[in-house]
Subunit: 208 residues, 4 copies
């Protein structure tokens, strides 16, 4: 066979579908964060990607679908980083601290995700009925719940209602991370952050 020559140009391997989806979700998060869901036009996202609206519709069903898939994408990445971080210790109090700190540092960097969490309260829904991210949220809360339960078992934490406190703590935790980050703009974020953790932990810890 004479012609078997490799294509001359750069490999230019067509991005796999999953890679392309990831690109899309990241771009969407960025734009949704900037304008909010309602004011973001599908076209804005297409432009960010250097593609056309029509093309985008080959990958997602509609605007809402694009939003939800993108947020899920962001939440899962966040969750994964936290999960990795707490794998390194067994001490429950330390795990709680690490969980908070890792979340904080992660969101410090993932600006789009943080911004979206700040502006869309339905992501951590108030009424479970409408939870579009139920599965992801449940996994996150299960992580926290497990720590809480072990802490109570070990008499490190006060004997609170686990189910409810998990939910409450998780909400505080999220809001706290967000607020702390915001408030600490340019300041000694560390101190403010630690003070917050201290307040919550102090409320949770078993006092002798």
């Amino acid at each position: 066979m004479l012609r078997a020559v490799l294509p001359a140009g750069p490999p230019r391997r067509a991005m796999s579908r999953q890679e392309k989806l990831n690109r899309i979700f990241d771009a969407a998060l960025k734009v949704f964060a900037q304008y909010g869901y309602k004011r973001t036009r599908v076209e804005d996202i297409a432009q960010e990607l250097g593609m056309t609206k029509g093309n985008l519709y080959l990958y997602v069903k509609d605007k809402k679908d694009l939003y939800e898939k993108s947020v899920s994408h962001g939440l899962l990445r966040w969750q994964a980083r936290v999960r990795e971080a707490i794998a390194g210790t067994d001490d429950v109090v330390e795990q709680l601290l690490i969980m908070c700190r890792k979340s904080f540092t992660y969101l410090s960097r993932d600006v789009p995700l943080r911004t979206i969490l700040m502006n869309d309260p339905s992501i951590f829904p108030l009424s479970p009925k409408e939870d579009r991210f139920a599965r992801i949220n449940k996994a996150s809360m299960d992580m926290m719940k497990a720590v809480l339960m072990r802490g109570i078992d070990q008499k490190r934490f006060r004997n609170v209602d686990v189910k409810y406190t998990t939910d409450l703590l998780f909400s505080i935790y999220v809001m706290f991370i967000i607020k702390t980050y915001i408030k600490s703009e340019g300041k000694s974020s560390g101190k403010l952050f630690e003070q917050g953790i201290d307040l919550i932990l102090n409320g949770l810890l078993m006092h002798p």
Copy 2:
């Protein structure tokens, strides 16, 4: 009696402008709560009031103005009820408790306001720059701040950073009230609520 009694006919006293505004704001809160800002049509609110769109525009500049004035109206009423409630005691711990409890019971009943607070995080804005309700929020926080400061003075509360903690606590407080109410649907809301207060107070109180 010399003077004939005023004609008994139906009162039908023309509503004063302020009364009409109050009617409008209440109706608007109800509809905005039901559909959210974006999906609420100005016409929906007019219908709720039994008037026409055009008429509504005699009272507000545009849709956004209607929303903001209505929310302000709701926030101020809430704030007033809480303020009245804490006027009955001097004990700072009790004041903090009453503040929480009154807010809770108030929002239990003001469903539209609660719903709106749940869905619009910009009402208690994260970045103060965009605070459309800055004045009202400041007053609410000042109420809490005053209690905190007195508590610290009296060595009842731990010596936290007042400015920051007020802000953080206020956020937790709002979110906590909302969440608690939601979670306790049909359940023993009292218990859950008290448990939440207990957690926060426990974190705040000076432990001997």
Copy 3:
């Protein structure tokens, strides 16, 4: 006698209907001149008069009626001033000059009328069919026509088609007055003005 019996307050004699109409037309001209017909709201005019929209509708049928009556009012006043001015001479060339000069000085002062003439070409309509001010315009043109005819009779003007030239001259005359005034803002309006008259007269005069 200590206290003079003069009536205490100002006479405050109720304005006659005609006086009130005049007030209304002057106010309307002012506002229509400022914003143009379309952008002027009936309410703007009412405000200018310190009365309410509803009240205005006691005097005119609708917005269009108000506009037309006001413009007529302004045109008639202008016309009267010019008519008075040319009554003082018999020389046709001088009459033409005075007609132009008086119109110029009059419109220099009646800013609203001038502005409206500038912006509404339908006042001196192109198609006679739609002439809302036909009677008034005809009177103005008859004044000019009479001068023209006498001038031709006396061999002072070239033997032009009277009917058509009147119409054309009248249009040029109006436009010229307006333009001249505009262009001469702050400048030696006299010179520019005289130069324009000179050009037209030169075209009209019988050259030996």
Copy 4:
């Protein structure tokens, strides 16, 4: 024959963007001329074109933009025809005559443009500040100015103030063309027209 002929189907060559714009502007001029700016609905123009409102907005920013672009389009075409016409002679008097005559015959045929010029005095604005068509108007006036100047240089025209006379003449010229056309409906337009030119030229020419 080696290569099959391209499918013969109807040409149906997709109109270029510029061609489509031209179609749009022509349709817009027609409808704006018929109803006037204010009473023309964007939808009317879309219907005239057999397209939808939404589609129209792919080509222009808003209604005002559509109007201005359409008028510019019309003015430029007019200007181009006149420019071509005067290129054929060097005699200044003849150029002035041709300029007038060509404008006249052109506008005789371009009914929409003529109608719009008749009804919108702001196209040849009185106050230069608000000139939306300044560039185009300047070019037109420069054409006339050049002729005037050469005529004065050659002692064919009286020594008038060029700058001001250009402006004045241009205004008269436009108004004259429009008026002449209107007045001559069904009549011997030629004669009336020539009489008008004669009047102006006579005023301008240097008399021995």
